[in-house]
């Protein structure tokens, strides 16, 4: 923060001559190169971010099977009406997304912070613990999904074999099938991975934390809890914000795990998610691109509602 301020002030102090000299030095060739260096990323950004986003908004007001541009028909708000009033998977999907988000905030995130804090204390084998805890993050989500799918398999899966809950007729826990169990089962897997992510982010933050602050607190007679909540946690605010944003995004874009563990039906009872409904409608055999786009726009709006306040807050701080 402070460093950016100083650079801007020195620039101002140096005044115009510097800038003018700089301008003269740019030859036509330099301008071309600079233009390309800025222009190419700009074009890529426009093509890969803004164009699809705006196209999705446009398509959400149409009905299109995804084959040939001439089959796009205007449909007004009907796709949204369908989503809000008729689609039996829509509201469960929204609810599940919210549950997913609340769960990540409530359990894996604090737990990840806790682990990071413990690992920062230079305990023995700390490298080993770090690696072990971070491992789920290294494996791709699809593989994580497969691993847990094998855990949860009702007949010969590890969990049911250990618990003895795989005898038909008696107790039989169908972890991924039972609509009242499957979301919790998947959330455990998601939490396992999310904890790793938060742990590494927070550990990085803690490494940059000035230990003298902690020592000072200790000298002032603060106990460990007080030191963490009154000193460490508040002074790691930038990291905390990043963690919050990451958690929210993970909650909203949750997809891979359910896609693998729930089977790619998407509308499997108990495991509906907006991201999966979107994929199913757009990729499926009789493409419902319009409807899928409408769902995508809804998800986009929800994400913006979460992200914009954060960005606004941050920009304000920089201006100050």
């Amino acid at each position: 923060m402070s460093s950016t301020k100083t650079t801007t002030s020195t620039k101002k102090a140096a005044g115009r001559p510097v800038r003018r000299r700089k301008m003269r030095r740019l030859t036509g060739r330099d301008k071309l190169v600079l233009g390309l260096l800025v222009g190419i990323p700009l074009v890529i950004h426009l093509a890969l971010v803004w164009f699809p986003a705006i196209a999705s908004v446009f398509l959400s007001f149409t009905d299109w099977d995804g084959i040939g541009l001439d089959t796009i028909h205007g449909a007004g708000l009907s796709q949204y009406v369908q989503a809000f009033t008729n689609d039996p998977s829509f509201w469960p999907a929204v609810t599940n997304n919210v549950l997913w988000l609340l769960f990540l905030i409530a359990i894996p995130t604090p737990f990840g912070i806790f682990l990071a804090y413990q690992l920062d204390k230079k305990i023995r084998f700390s490298r080993f613990y770090q690696t072990a805890i971070f491992l789920p993050m290294v494996i791709s989500l699809a593989v994580v999904g497969f691993i847990w799918q094998i855990f949860y398999q009702p007949d010969y899966g590890l969990l049911n074999s250990l618990l003895g809950t795989n005898n038909p007729g008696g107790t039989y826990l169908d972890w991924l099938g039972d609509p009242s169990l499957n979301l919790s089962a998947v959330l455990v897997a998601a939490g396992w991975r999310h904890t790793a992510y938060i742990m590494i982010l927070y550990l990085a933050g803690l490494k940059s934390f000035d230990p003298t602050l902690r020592e000072a607190a200790a000298i002032d007679g603060a106990n460990e809890r007080q030191t963490f909540f009154r000193i460490t946690f508040p002074s790691l605010r930038p990291v905390n914000v990043i963690i919050l944003v990451v958690t929210v995004l993970e909650g909203l874009r949750a997809f891979d795990l359910v896609y693998v563990m729930g089977g790619n039906t998407g509308s499997k009872q108990g495991l509906e998610l907006l991201s999966i409904l979107i994929t199913n409608n757009i990729v499926g055999e009789s493409g419902k691109v319009g409807y899928g786009s409408a769902l995508a726009v809804i998800l986009l709006i929800v994400s913006l509602v979460v992200i914009i306040p954060y960005l606004v807050q941050n920009f304000r701080k920089e201006q100050r």
Binding site: V33, L36, I40, D65, G66, I67, G68, Q82, N86, D87, P88, S89, Y152, Q153, P154, D155, P168, G169, Y172, D174, W175, L176, G177, D178, P179, N182, G262, G263, N264, T265, S267, K268, Q269, N280, N281, V283, G284, E285, S286, G287, K288, Y291
Partner: protein
């Protein structure tokens, strides 16, 4: 160079560095440009080799990812090569993925020939102009098929598109040894089937294999289709599938109510089990029966295969009896603009002949040849019985998601039926939910 270098090293170094940076930039741009041009060049190369080399490799997109299917298709390709047809390059994709991504596949750079299904599901693509008709070779092979099969190959415009390779009946499969051990009788009516299921449960056997776990909800359609065909007849079923009849019709309600009687006898935990595991349960004698396609035979090896038998789905309403068999037909289609059109047509023509059917059959004993003049003496007992079942049936339906809009089936009907199986008391809400979403798929 060296002389110059020695005299004034400073400017040289600076110049070199500058030049270095620029050349690197240029190089980068050049690479980017090449990368962009790459596909174009490749495309040129491809089409030119295809045209110049005449019978270049024909690409074949195949969803036959199971070992049995893979071997059988390879036998077919080898037979085509031996007949002097040319080389075929198979491109095998996992079955579920193949179906799921078929839209983008056909609009991208599809293979010349690809595996697909007969019925509404093929006609929809023909209507959207994603297929190449095969009228030039059709007269040569048309005579090899029965009238019922022939009608499956035509698009809505009356042009032929599809060359079938095999079909298979859907029925109730069981192990002879299990039935003999407990003294079970083949049920003639649906009531008998329920009674039999009750007996199996008492004998500590899960009566019906059930696995709709990993996107396998389609397996429910086996039972739904048959209950509807047996309760309401062939015509009603086809009308319902093609969106003409309302799903809230009391006749459909009757079907779900009948279904509700058998659901308590399903293998537990089906919602989390893959269909392959459900079939394995039949092999392992953990379940007594499976309502499924004859492809279940691929799970049975050696002596187990001889132990596998089936009976037709029993009678619900005597007015309809056993007059319909569900026999999905698989085969091949040509993509919109094949790179090697001549070769692809030649391959399609070959597929419609007896040698091709026999080559395929040599690798896969879980299907039946559709070419009427092919050699059936190598059929095993199961195949012979299946062929007789198909021959004796008046009507032949395909499969829920082939007789209907597949998106409607996969996104609306299958999820609704899956939750119905989970809670069979929800008859009316299930049907209402299906009906309220139907118009989105059949309006056009």
């Amino acid at each position: 160079m060296s002389h110059f270098q020695r005299r004034s090293p400073e400017p040289w170094r600076v110049g070199m560095l500058a030049a270095d940076r620029r050349t690197v930039l240029k190089g980068l741009l050049g690479v980017a440009g090449l990368a962009a041009a790459g596909p174009l060049l490749a495309a040129c190369g491809d089409s030119s080799t295809g045209a110049a080399a005449g019978p270049g490799a024909i690409s074949l997109g195949s969803s036959g990812s199971e070992p049995t299917a893979k071997a059988a298709y390879q036998a077919l390709i080898d037979a085509f090569g031996k007949s002097g047809g040319g080389t075929v390059k198979p491109n095998i994709v996992d079955n579920n993925t193949f179906q799921k991504t078929i839209n983008s596949y056909l609009q991208g750079t599809p293979d010349d020939v690809f595996t697909w299904y007969a019925g509404y599901r093929m006609q929809a693509f023909a209507k959207k102009g994603l297929l190449h008709p095969i009228d030039s070779i059709w007269p040569a092979i048309e005579g090899n098929f029965s009238p019922a099969t022939k009608s499956l190959c035509l698009g809505e415009d009356g042009k032929p598109y599809f060359v079938p390779i095999y079909n298979y009946p859907t029925a109730v499969f069981y192990r002879k040894s299990v039935f003999a051990q407990h003294g079970y009788q083949i049920p003639a009516t649906y009531d008998d089937l329920i009674a039999l299921a009750g007996r199996m449960k008492n004998d500590n056997l899960s009566p019906f294999s059930h696995g709709i776990g990993s996107g396998d909800g389609w397996t429910l359609l086996n039972t739904f289709d048959y209950l509807n065909l047996r309760t309401n007849g062939y015509q009603f079923h086809i009308d319902l599938m093609s969106g003409k009849t309302s799903w809230t019709d009391p006749k459909v309600k009757a079907v779900l109510e009948q279904w509700g009687r058998v659901i308590p006898f399903y293998q537990q935990g089906g919602a989390g089990r893959k269909w392959q595991d459900a079939q394995q349960a039949l092999v392992d004698k953990k379940t007594g029966m499976a309502v499924t396609g004859m492809f279940v035979a691929t799970s049975f090896k050696g002596a187990d295969l001889d132990d596998l038998d089936f009976f037709p789905f029993p009678v619900v309403d005597p007015a309809h009896g056993l007059d319909t068999v569900e026999a999905p037909t698989d085969g091949f289609l040509l993509s919109k603009s094949p790179k090697n059109l001549d070769g692809a047509l030649k391959l399609m023509q070959f597929i419609g002949t007896a040698p091709a059917a026999e080559a395929y059959q040599s690798g896969d004993k879980s299907n039946l040849a559709v070419v009427t003049n092919s050699d059936t003496t190598k059929y095993n007992a199961l195949q012979t019985k299946a062929a007789a079942l198909i021959a004796s049936s008046k009507n032949m339906s395909q499969f829920g998601d082939r007789d209907s809009d597949p998106g409607f089936m996969s996104d609306v009907v299958i999820p609704a039926l899956s939750s119905f199986v989970n809670d069979p008391s929800q008859v009316q809400p299930t049907l209402q939910s299906i009906e309220s979403q139907k118009s989105r798929y059949f309006s056009a």
